[in-house]
Symmetry: C2
């Protein structure tokens, strides 16, 4: 039975910009699994109603529907246990959890402030009112006020990325000698921003830049599907 | 051969306030090793000149002198390999490295801004000029200007601690089901602040509060030595 991944898309269905969907894409590639990705817009709630909720990524694996990028990774790990591990034990899940909680609470916000208007402009027309309303309610301000110019946002992002930068000075991947789900969680930030913006989050001499490039080279399958274009900035 | 740990002390030699020394103390306790701790002041450079540098912690283990809390943990792990592991493999070192880099770049600064005047007031008289001069040079401002009042510092600290808080919602220790060096690195923040200040960094209903208490209960040896008093705030 083919795997199917519902993947957040812009007006151009080849632009996939959800960091959480990117985590699932790299998890699939690491497990050497191919999935048909289904471009999905924010307001296509009906299309994923079968999953019992309204957000992507949603993975359909035979009879099962799994949502939430973490639960998708755990499902793949348990179901395809002969493939390379996403959570090399015993420290794999604790590391990936901590990295996830770091990205979600310290990194995603300043990155969103940098790219939110890029996202808004590239959304499918039917998604724009939903996106503006839901985000303005969440952040208590207009999208335009929430957005930060690169000269303000980039130094904050660079400071927030310090733990990743320093760790990559000591070892090639966050998970150690070999990449695992912890790496894909951090990588998702760059795939997300790079899919909608040409502004690089880090300089070319940053160890993070090389690490990202090594991961993209290693998992070409994560970047490919029938209607998918490579992210705009390396 | 007895182990000896040079441990940063205040005017009251029972007050030990270096977060890096706390990491070494808990690493020793985890390895079920007893060390004689030697209270050390910032300006006692001659006393540790044998280590080839001027900072504590310095661990003397027989013929060897090891400095830097990370290198001390690695030394203990390699030398006392039958004792419980500080870095359960394969993910143990990557996790501990990432947690170290997170604490050192995201957490220690706002905590230092909260407690720096408490530290200064409790320093040995002979250390005060050294401390003021070296820190004012490092931060480019006076100690008084660098310091932040609790109403400003505590919300920043609480936000910086989000990755720890969320991770402890999913598992009892940072390292997973059992504590390891990653936990002691994060714990060192609270032992440091608690040794000089009575202001609690987290509320009693915070999962971090319980985690700290469980660690203190588990490693009473880390809190004891001939001239050591328990940290002031739980």
């Amino acid at each position: 039975m083919a795997l199917k991944l519902y993947d957040l898309a812009a007006a151009d269905a080849a632009v996939r910009f959800s960091p959480f969907c990117w985590r699932a894409r790299f998890a699939l590639a690491h497990k050497r699994l191919q999935a048909d990705t289904v471009p999905w817009n924010f307001t296509d709630k009906d299309a994923i109603a079968f999953s019992g909720q309204g957000k992507v990524p949603v993975l359909v694996d035979g009879e099962r529907a799994v949502h939430d990028s973490w639960d998708i990774a755990v499902h793949l790990e348990n179901t395809y246990s002969d493939a390379p591990s996403l959570f090399p034990q015993p420290g794999g899940k604790p590391l990936a959890r901590f990295v996830r909680n770091w990205v979600d609470t310290q990194v995603n916000l300043p990155v969103l402030q940098l790219v939110i208007m890029d996202i808004y402009e590239q959304l499918h027309e039917k998604d724009k009112a939903y996106f503006r309303e839901s985000r303005e309610q969440r952040f208590g301000t207009t999208l335009e006020q929430f957005a930060q110019a690169p000269d303000k946002a980039l130094p904050r992002i660079s400071q927030a990325l310090m733990p990743l930068r320093l760790t990559l000075g000591d070892q090639p991947y966050l998970a150690g000698d070999q990449p695992a789900f912890a790496d894909f969680i951090a990588l998702s930030v760059f795939q997300w921003a790079g899919s909608v913006s040409s502004i690089a989050l880090v300089k070319e001499d940053d160890p993070i830049h090389d690490w990202r490039q090594r991961l993209l080279d290693r998992y070409p399958a994560a970047l490919q599907d029938s209607n998918f274009k490579r992210s705009q900035s390396a």
